[in-house]
Amino acid sequence: MVVARTELLPIRSESDVVFVRQQVRAWCVELQFSLVDQTKMVTAASELARNTLVHGKGGTVEVQIVEDAERRGLRMLFEDQGPGIPDVDLALKDGYTTGTGMGLGLGGSRRLVHDFSIHSQPGAGTRVSVLRWK
């Protein structure tokens, strides 16, 4: 898998979250995602950017166009140096049932993308990587 293009965006304020949504939308349009897939990606970006801001106390997202031999996709890497998530499995579950659990929207976001991975340790920040192929 090759990274064809990349852009690093700060997530330090609410307006940054809005900007992330707009940028992700623009990249989805460029990759010619269907409207539904665009919506899924932008929504996932919104959820994860908010997490980064609210729980992670601010961080960054790297938005990338990735390619392999036969397809292109959009990858987003969210990173923060915040308190981390003590029980990732639980967080992934909570996002599913009511959306009011830890409010992390992680479980939901996972269903909106093709590939999802998360690394988080208390005291060591959180990294979430999501990818959607065209």
């Binding site: 979250v17 919104s46 009511t98």
Partner: protein, 131 residues
């Protein structure tokens, strides 16, 4: 500070969300609406989201809360104009929209509000007043 305008339509309040809201703006809207329902005694609230291309869990929860608070104030809420892509995404997201009534268009939303409010205490009181 920017605010989303709330229109008065007879006994109902109408909000049309046209911008990509940041979280604080959404919360301000929630507060403004709740306050106005209380102040005006509105029997119903319509939230038009036909221009919203993204509804995430935060906005979804905001609308759920608003609906609950409106109910406590004896007012009905209806959310209209949800775009198909948004609906599909919300289902995947797993967001529970229970307690929030939805309608396809503003007209159908108004019809729903009129029916619903006729059955409410306010509606009955209103009915009696007009005789």
């Amino acid at each position: 500070m920017e605010r989303i305008p709330i229109l008065r339509m007879g006994d109902f309040l109408l909000v049309s969300i046209q911008v990509d809201m940041h979280d604080r703006l959404a919360l301000t809207l929630q507060d403004d609406l709740t306050r106005q329902i209380a102040e005006t005694g509105a029997r119903g609230v319509m939230i038009d989201i036909s221009a919203l291309e993204v509804v995430d869990s935060f906005i979804g929860r905001m609308m759920s809360h608003l609906s609950s608070m409106a109910r406590v104030l004896d007012s009905t809420t209806v959310v209209v104009g949800m775009q198909p892509a948004v609906a599909i995404t919300l289902v995947e997201l797993g967001l529970s929209f229970k307690g929030v009534h939805t309608a396809l268009t503003v007209e159908k939303g108004v019809r729903y509000l009129e029916q619903a409010s006729r059955g409410s205490a306010k509606g009955r009181a209103h009915g009696r007043r007009s005789h």
